[in-house]
Symmetry: C2
Subunit: 342 residues, 2 copies
Amino acid sequence: LKQDSLNVDCAHLMQNALAGNRRALAKLLTIVENDEADGQIVLAQLFSHTGQAHIVGITGSPGSGKSTLVNSMVRELRKNDVKVAVVAVDPTSPFSGGALLGDRLRMRDLATDSGVFIRSMASRGDPGGVAHTTRGVVNVLDAVGFPIILVETVGAGQAQVEVAQVTHTVVLVEAPGMGDDIQALKAGMMEIADIVVVNKSDKPEAQRTVQAIRSVLMLHEQRMADEMNDVSPETINSHKAWSIPVLMTSAINGQGIPNLLKVMGEHQKYLLDSGLWQVVQRRHVRAEIEAWLQRKIQAWLQTQLGKQSLEAAVGLVLTGEQSPVSAAQDLFNKVIAGTKKI
Amino acid sequence: LKQDSLNVDCAHLMQNALAGNRRALAKLLTIVENDEADGQIVLAQLFSHTGQAHIVGITGSPGSGKSTLVNSMVRELRKNDVKVAVVAVDPTSPFSGGALLGDRLRMRDLATDSGVFIRSMASRGDPGGVAHTTRGVVNVLDAVGFPIILVETVGAGQAQVEVAQVTHTVVLVEAPGMGDDIQALKAGMMEIADIVVVNKSDKPEAQRTVQAIRSVLMLHEQRMADEMNDVSPETINSHKAWSIPVLMTSAINGQGIPNLLKVMGEHQKYLLDSGLWQVVQRRHVRAEIEAWLQRKIQAWLQTQLGKQSLEAAVGLVLTGEQSPVSAAQDLFNKVIAGTKKI
């Protein structure tokens, strides 16, 4: 892999994308998303341009109204002439086409605004690769100069862990109502949230939900304090821990959105002032290197093994001659024999 | 790794678990779940006992009432004196403790029934490993003789893909109501469902939801027909494709549960009669070997790399001397140098 081996078309796309051409940007993202050799070169070459954007994850269950919230946030940012990119990882998001017609119509005008760029990810069928591909797309959007990048993900299972691997600030969106919501909080979604939003604040139960979340949060306040211990003392300018705010919004009529954007800015400032911004950047870079390495090892493994060896192993297991563990051990021994320690 | 190197305590636990001792079974599962060397030996030794159970995934969004449904299914099976195991991968499930007190109380009596075994998985913080660990636990429960194993997962993102990797039959649970539910269907949850259940059938919208799902399903009927093409003609005894049924249940008062169990049995019979059962078994074994191999490679990678090499690479990236891709490529080159093709 030589950094200079980018073909002329690709180099051209990159120049045009950096100059603000949206169509070139879209094509570039497709190259990066498909993880071709060219995509790796593009990311390597754009890397020096990254590190400027505030990357914000917007996560929550289906039904919390997070797509409508993202929509309102984009409109508010545009009112203030701030450019913004949206990456929809959530397969149920209207941004990725999984919406009722009405939702899509409501956000159609955004598509013609040159200060907004929306990208939806094909998240299914790529186990383990969602965070990795998302990171690539986010890096490109960062490099071409979007100061704010909103990453919309469904807040369940692994996605909730992965969103923290690619963002600086995580906004957890909840709809009013007890029961499942609070279960989800207990189950740990709260552990990754930097800001909690109770959306649909016009509903009568909203205030009660805010109170319930605040009491759950009191148990979690220790988290950031613990995280501060990872930062060497000299990089910390402020020792005040971040206290997770619980905000109310009504995305449908725009209430609370300016305040949410203000608090997001405060969280970014907090990260920068406290030295945690570098800690997060380091974590992102480490995760990115590890992901690339795993991917390369995986690809190498495919070529080393060949389909025959694997199918032969499957056959031995199906006839009862070997267990899956020992079949894997045999394959491992064959593949790894001859590697050296560095 | 020698298959005969299992220590005496472990061998004892295994014998007792096979003889029906619940406490031994619980300890054995912990060993398997923690993926220690002993766990691998246990799985290897128990493997010849597996392959008998009907493994059924129960998946759906939080709020669909799938935990209550699982609860009702267990009670109905016990009425007919069928032993059953439940594996709760869903972090919001009351079976894994993420529930309101009332839910847990309602199912407390199940814990004292020797024909029921409930295991909850620690699913968070183990990216990529959920399906793998779940499979280990399911294999043990299969080996010790549970004829039905219900795997409860949250139906979003990767989990929905993974559940198909460890089960024979996937039951998708939906609550009545349009909007998000239908979005989820469109987004592809339907692609893995063998049976769809509209739970909370007492709600007035239930019938409308059933109709909406049926119309979405008509677009998906091609799926099983396509899958049949993977089966060699001589293994197919019946060419009839499975037509995904849409059932109504009211888990809270037990309505529709006997019918659901009957249809689950029909799906098992369909797989066996059509030859698809072997196709599914082969797919499970292949996925299991691949998962073990990946895990072994991962562990090997950790020891080969050492923390220093990785941190040095992170440092080079942070100072702008390298991009993450090229840093990973360098690490890859160092680790892989000297391996040979098999």
